[in-house]
């Protein structure tokens, strides 16, 4: 008997799943869009059964997490559960009716996850780690949209990295430039258009700490050794100057030579600098 439940990861950057999204507001079946701090929203997941047999009463769990990079089932915040039945080869959109009201933590940067499994026919791995890129059951949406005021090219976005393990760990963090077109698979769930024009980012880099105005540290495109105590966390800030209409940036977290987390930022020209997440 073969039941294989899957929530798809993002194609290039796994944390940009097209299969996890949010619907802000009171209507769970309303228009998808970015969550707003202090206002309820509902989380959805698109679940596939790529196996050859049908499954009934599979479970879908929904979480939000802080910080955006480096968390597990114990440190992520469980939102709620849902059930789904799928024929072989079938795909369904699954709604978590427990609403999530985002709170202002981690400078507003939070991500949502969903995992689908059947306890008997297609169980989750025993580990508390999500292992998003390698485990088909789970997917993550970790995108921030940052609007930059027209008269100000500079932008900055703070975030944290978290060591969920007991012992100290060393992480490498790097910032990369992507293309807004990479977000096309997510468009339906963003609830907004993304600019068709292009842009580029100058002076892009990372600095330690959570305030770009503190100190005179020169932003670095990557940081090879960031030591974080066991169970601890540290803050970083992504900075740059947007030239043009929009640019997509990815922040990749590595440990032991492999990607263990990441987040993406769509930087856009806007009326005022503000953030939303999806």
């Amino acid at each position: 008997m073969s039941v294989q439940l899957e929530i798809q990861d993002g194609s290039t950057y796994w944390w940009l799943s097209p299969d996890v999204w949010t619907v802000p507001g009171e209507d769970p079946e309303g228009v998808p869009g970015l969550p707003i701090v202090g206002q309820p929203c509902y989380v959805w997941a698109r679940v596939h059964n790529t196996g050859t047999d049908a499954v009934t009463n599979a479970t879908v769990r929904f979480y939000w997490a802080n910080p955006a990079v480096g968390f597990d089932r114990n440190s992520a915040n469980h939102i709620g559960n849902a059930n789904v039945s799928l024929n072989a080869g079938e795909t369904k959109e699954v709604l978590c009716l427990v609403s999530w009201t985002p709170v202002w933590v981690n400078d507003g940067h939070e991500c949502v996850l969903a995992e689908a499994f059947h306890a008997a026919l297609d169980p989750l791995p025993a580990s508390p780690d999500f292992n998003v890129p390698t485990d088909r059951h789970v997917a993550q949406r970790n995108l921030t949209i940052l609007e930059v005021a027209p008269m100000t090219k500079n932008f900055s976005m703070s975030f944290e990295i978290h060591n969920t393990e007991r012992l100290p760990r060393t992480f490498a963090i790097k910032a990369e430039v992507g293309k807004p077109a990479e977000l096309r698979p997510l468009l339906k769930q963003l609830g907004r258009d993304i600019p068709t024009g292009t842009g580029k980012v100058a002076k892009m880099g990372l600095i330690k700490g959570r305030n770009a105005c503190d100190g005179d540290e020169t932003p670095q495109p990557s940081m090879d050794r960031i030591e974080v105590a066991g169970g601890g966390r540290t803050g970083l800030t992504l900075t740059g100057e947007l030239e043009g209409e929009a640019a997509l940036l990815h922040v990749v977290q590595e440990a032991d030579g492999r990607d263990i987390g990441g987040l993406s930022v769509l930087v856009m020209q806007g009326k005022e600098q503000k953030k939303g997440r999806a």
Partner: protein, 535 residues
């Protein structure tokens, strides 16, 4: 592609009796309950339909996943499905449930509201508090109507409590519950009647002996504390829908069920749902309340269910379906100024039973009540004596079932039932919740639902004939009694104005197997028939 709907608000059935709670409202203190829903194709028909609950908006409600199947779902035909759920951690309020109806042509999501209350024992008042988002209702039952001799020793199980076949004098519930609360101080007051509801009864005990020292609530001291205090003449209804009196009915229903279980489990004779005013005479009638009796086991559960259901019907009837005493009190006590906030409403009510209480029949009742509105400036009173009648009516019902079933031939026991409303018109489809209770010779209890959906044993959908079937096994030899219980369903349109919606109440028992009469003797408890199971 067929389009599906759930025409009525999904409703609760509690695990002890299996009956729908008043107005189908869920209660956290009970813990395990069933979520029941009628799923209906509103246009088109479909085959191989699956129905399951996808999600619930309160993470404190834990659903046991289950997928139900419909071979052929014809247009306009309602199918009843149930899901087990644990409401122990539920918060009181209005919650959403999403159902998925899947056909070969695609799936459809239907989101419905349910109401959840949370009852807590209040050791200070000796009463119970029921929380809803719009306020907290505190109620103390200070008087109840019961038989002079409740015959609690009829099963001989609690001989130590008996003297010449009579139960010893019972303590009032206030005293009993305070004592229990003191004894259970480290146990969060678990040892009160709610304890019995939440604990259930560990399966149906064939030795369960029913005792109902009190059968009707007569005197109630109730208070609503609105959250928040409100300006103007009218506050919100609980859940923006039912009257506050429905909450009282839920309380009466559940406490009577719990009391019966308490008697069966502990047999102390010290915990009863009434209070110090227990008496055996209907007010001023000169009559004597009958004694509900049951032969034990399954019949006792049915009797417990019917007594509690009759009490709920009576409580609702006393306070009238149209506008309850709280609302009438508000009608007559408009605050003097617009700046006053109503911080509490009190209701002291005494039910007057002028007629025998027979579910499904238009019995008359009376009420004497005093309503007090307490505002931030002053108090306002309104008192009245009124009469009303039960409006949850059945003209008659007809049962058709075999009197012999050959289990060795794997014959099905098929029960067909028709229910005629007060206008002699047949109830159909999702208008009723119908169950058959089978009571075995050794006290066994089996329950199954009857439906009017044209599937399996039911020949034709929506023809007003509700049908259900049960297969006896070779262990079931002997003469079984059966009771077919029908309850009405809240059919209020979710878009109705709250005042209009409140006037539609569901979950009232319509069938009259048990009557509470006032001529002494035993209360008539009449089975709908017997079936001899041959193995």
């Amino acid at each position: 592609m067929a389009t599906f709907a759930i025409p009525n608000r999904p409703f609760a059935t509690e695990p002890v009796t299996g009956l729908m709670t008043p107005d189908g409202i869920f209660e956290a203190a009970i813990g395990q309950q069933n979520i029941n829903a009628h799923v209906q194709s509103s246009s088109g028909s479909a085959s191989n339909v699956q129905v399951y609950i996808e999600s619930v908006s309160d993470p404190g409600i834990v659903i046991t996943p289950a997928t139900h199947f419909i071979g052929t779902a014809a247009a306009g035909v309602a199918h009843l499905f149930s899901w087990q759920a644990d409401f122990t951690g539920a918060s009181p309020g209005k919650h959403l449930v999403s159902f998925i109806v899947e056909t070969p042509g695609g799936s459809q999501r239907i989101i419905k509201k349910i109401f959840v209350t949370k009852i807590a024992f209040n050791p200070v008042t000796g009463g119970y508090s029921v929380s809803s988002p719009e306020g907290v209702l505190d109620a103390v039952f200070t008087g109840a109507l019961g038989p002079k001799n409740p015959l609690c020793c009829s099963g001989g199980k609690r001989g130590e409590d008996c003297e010449n076949g009579l139960c010893r004098t019972r303590e009032t519930i206030n005293t009993a519950l305070r004592t229990a609360a003191t004894l259970a101080e480290d146990d969060k007051n678990a040892r009160n009647l709610l304890h019995y509801l939440s604990r259930g009864f560990k399966g149906h005990d064939p030795n369960f002996v029913f005792c109902a020292p009190q059968v009707l609530i007569t005197d109630i001291e109730a208070a609503v504390t609105p959250t928040p205090p409100f300006a103007g003449q009218y506050g919100d209804l609980p859940f923006q829908d039912p009257w506050w009196k429905v909450i009282l009915a839920i309380l009466a229903f559940l406490l009577l069920v719990a009391a019966a279980i308490a008697e069966a489990v502990d047999g102390s004779g010290t915990i009863t749902p009434g209070a110090s005013g227990t008496h055996d005479l209907p007010s001023g009638s000169g009559g004597s309340c009958c004694t509900p009796t049951a032969s034990g086991g399954g019949t006792s559960y049915v009797a417990a269910a019917l007594v509690a259901a009759a009490a709920a019907v009576a409580t609702v009837a006393v306070a009238s379906d149209v506008r309850d005493p709280f609302r009438k009190g508000q009608d007559h006590t408009a605050p003097d100024t617009a700046t006053e906030l109503t911080i509490a409403e009190k209701l002291s009510m005494k039910a007057i039973y002028t007629d025998e209480v027979i579910p499904g029949k238009p019995f008359n009742t009376g009420i004497e009540y005093k309503y007090t509105r307490i505002t931030t400036a002053k108090s306002y009173d309104y008192a009245a004596t009124e009469t009303s009648a039960n409006v949850h009516l059945l003209d008659k019902y007809v049962i058709d079932a075999p009197d012999v079933v050959r289990a060795y031939k794997r014959e099905l026991f098929v029960v067909k039932a028709q229910f005629y409303d007060a206008n002699k018109k047949l109830f159909k489809g999702s208008q009723l919740f119908v169950q058959c209770y089978l009571i075995g010779p050794a006290g066994q209890l089996r329950v199954f639902a009857l439906q009017d959906n044209g599937l399996q044993a039911d020949a034709t959908s929506n023809d007003g004939t509700y049908t259900g079937a049960f297969r006896f096994t070779t262990d079931d030899k002997g003469l079984w009694k059966y009771f077919v219980l029908a309850q009405d369903v809240n059919t209020a349109d979710p878009n109705l104005d709250p005042e209009e919606a409140a006037q539609i109440i569901g979950g009232m028992i319509l069938t009259d197997q048990l009557s509470i009469t006032f001529t002494g003797g035993t209360c008539p408890l009449v089975a709908d028939g017997d079936v001899n199971v041959i193995v």
